[in-house]
Amino acid sequence: MSDDEVAPSSTAPVTQDHQPPERDITDGGPDMVQFLAADGTRVELTATNEPYAAYLEDVDQAAMKDMLRDLIMVRRVDAEGFALQRQGELGLWPSLLGQEAAQVGAGRAMRPQDYAFPGYREHGVAWCKGVPPENLLGMFRGVNHGGWDSNENNFHLYTIVIGNQMLHAVGYAMGAARDGDVGTGDPDRDTAVMAFTGDGGTAQGDFNESLVFASVTNAPVVFYVQNNHWAISEPNDRQFTIPPYRRADGFGFPGIRVDGNDVLASYAVTRHALERARSGQGPTLIEAFTYRMGAHTTSDDPTKYRISAEVDAWKAKDPIDRMTAYLTSEGVIDDAWVEQTEGEADQLAARIRKACQTMPDPPHEEMFAHVYAEPHTLIERESALFADYQAGFED
């Protein structure tokens, strides 16, 4: 990272039996792959980022502009979700604020046949996979548990139990390999799977078991850990003492730390890992080094556990400001383009708002409709009893 960013001094409480090492949590260290510095200047090629530079060679100015557009749109979607919760239209909203580049970089590196297994904050990946943003709202409004068809966009339903989805991703990848959809050399056929979680998720047994299963089966899967530095109120040093990307080594496959606030780096590294997976070279673990600028969810109050100086330091590394500065300096965009794009984002937000407000409540009998795929006598009996009971109120 550049030297001109001043990190806040640690204010972590020091106790006699636990003394965390002094650390600068804005510093990703020398292993972190970066192409755009926080001020929007291109980083010189080094031994760290050079292996991934080739994955940007065919990313022309139009493609970069599209990525910035994605970042702007995704941030606007997120802001609308937050606003809808505050206005009582949603029960909850998990904000991705700050993580846009990590998600858009990964999402844009995926091909249509690649399958994503998200946690519940991957609105940016959903956007890239073509899931209409309004479809994400149903579960937070309480009208369903997941309002999109996973197989339409190859984007699985959000998984709320942290870590379960990592194993589902590995199993799906094992299936893709069994189907012969790996290593054929056909770019429209070869398939990889992406498994998304966060720094907190790395502590789960399922996360670690998924690395074991992927390793021994050589599954075509990319583990994508967005290290946003906070698992609700718990910082990284409550989850691990070795950063996530280094853990991959112990499981026998590569781990890469990437600047998750740099959309170009996130894209290049993910593309590299996906190509490895599709060609049959097995799994990769990517740690996208980023920051959760907002609360864990709308129910959380981060002022109780973190200091504003830390947030301010990360604000200076904003993914959208960075890409905007870069593309402006390159003459690819100007203020008018930004203004126009933000106008489009506002239109999208209005569409989402309307869809949310007009989303019909589900008919109550739907509760019973999909518990089983085949007839189940208990459900049938209760469903009928429920209908009779409800009908008693109709007069």
């Binding site: 339903l157 379960n164 194993l167 589902h168 199993g171 399922d206 795929a373």
Partner: protein, 348 residues
């Protein structure tokens, strides 16, 4: 009302085989029928499982279809979910009843709920095989009857076999089901023999429509008129013995109902039997508190109240952790405890 079938129809073309072999034959038939069926678990490949239930299948179907997994139950079930989402039909072996808990989260939170969560768009047609129950002199965690945890969970089907014939057919029906099925195998009965009659074709070309019963049907194993014993899995044999003993002594006439499916319960047959006899015992190896036998007692009193001559009694394991095996002879319900309950009911 269904009555004894299959094995009892017994023809000269029937083959005597153990429940273990019948389970193996059922899986083999399912794998031959559907190339998407894959077996997964610890030691299921070369070894054929610690109970040899999958013996020979890896040799015949290859390592891609009979997968020796890492020793991690959540990983096994979790990755099987992914395979199912990709279009496979995983049949997962949990090595022993007491080892299923690391996978409990994935079974209850994901396997059971995926179809409901996706409003029917996603299916998880998975079978989770669990050898269960005691009576084999095992160390701790190897003798549990934890079926009520899963029967309590909406979205799962829970079944158990008690005979060679059911082992063969129910395994195939469970694999063919589009719902996830927890398949409990009565491990102390694995090596008991019964007749499998596949008719004149000798098993060639049989399909699931030939099965004597549907997966969710209960079956009357012994007809009787004084007391109904509702039971399943390893206790069917005990109930059968109790009915025979009572008959030999010109005692009460005991009807034995083998539930076979614990979720859903075949309440139609249960109610029919209890209305006929007027007395009911719910019998299981499991601890009785908050159990399948609790549910049976509740259901019978709710639906057969005016037909009951006496309260429903539960006979099961005592409500303690499964004891060291030197105790299991008195912990597990036996013929005497069943007959004692019968006497209690008739004394009302």
């Amino acid at each position: 009302m269904s009555t004894q079938s299959g094995a009892a129809r017994g023809t000269s073309t029937g083959t005597r085989m153990t429940i273990a072999k019948a389970l193996n034959a059922g899986m083999r038939a399912a794998m031959e029928r559907d190339p998407k069926v894959v077996l997964m678990g610890e030691d299921v490949g070369k070894l054929g499982g610690v109970f040899r239930i999958t013996e020979g299948l890896q040799k015949d179907f290859g390592e891609d279809r009979v997968i020796d997994t890492p020793l991690a139950e959540s990983g096994i079930v979790g990755s099987a979910i992914g395979l199912a989402l990709r279009g496979y039909r995983p049949v997962v072996e949990i090595q022993f009843d007491g080892f299923v808990y690391p996978a409990f989260d994935n079974i209850v939170s994901q396997v059971a709920k995926m179809h409901n969560r996706s409003l029917g768009a996603l299916k998880v047609p998975m079978v989770i095989r669990i050898p269960y129950g005691g009576g084999i002199g095992a160390v701790e965690h190897h003798s549990e009857s934890n079926e009520s945890y899963f029967a309590h969970t909406a979205g799962l089907r829970v079944v158990t076999c008690s005979s060679t014939e059911d082992a063969y057919w129910m395994m195939q029906q469970a694999i063919a089901s589009d719902d996830p099925v927890i398949f409990y195998e009565p491990k102390r009965r694995y090596h008991e023999r019964g007749v499998l009659d596949l008719g004149e074709h000798g098993g060639q070309g049989v399909d699931l429509d030939d099965a004597p019963n549907q997966l969710d049907e209960a079956v009357v194993r012994v007809e009787g008129s004084d007391v109904t014993v509702l039971t399943y899995g390893p206790m069917v044999k005990v109930a059968h013995a109790a009915a025979q003993a009572a008959e030999l002594e010109d005692g009460p006439s005991i009807e034995v109902v083998d539930l076979r499916s614990l979720s859903p319960l075949d309440t139609e047959l249960i109610e029919e039997s209890v209305r006929k006899t007027g007395r009911c015992i719910a019998l299981s190896e499991a601890q009785t508190f908050s159990s399948i036998t609790s549910e049976l007692a509740a259901h019978v009193q709710e639906h057969c109240f005016y037909h009951l001559e006496a309260p429903v009694l539960r006979v099961g394991g005592y409500n303690i952790p499964y004891p060291p095996s030197r105790h299991e002879e008195v912990f597990l319900p036996d013929l005497d405890r069943v007959l004692h309950a019968v006497e209690t009911l008739l004394a009302y």
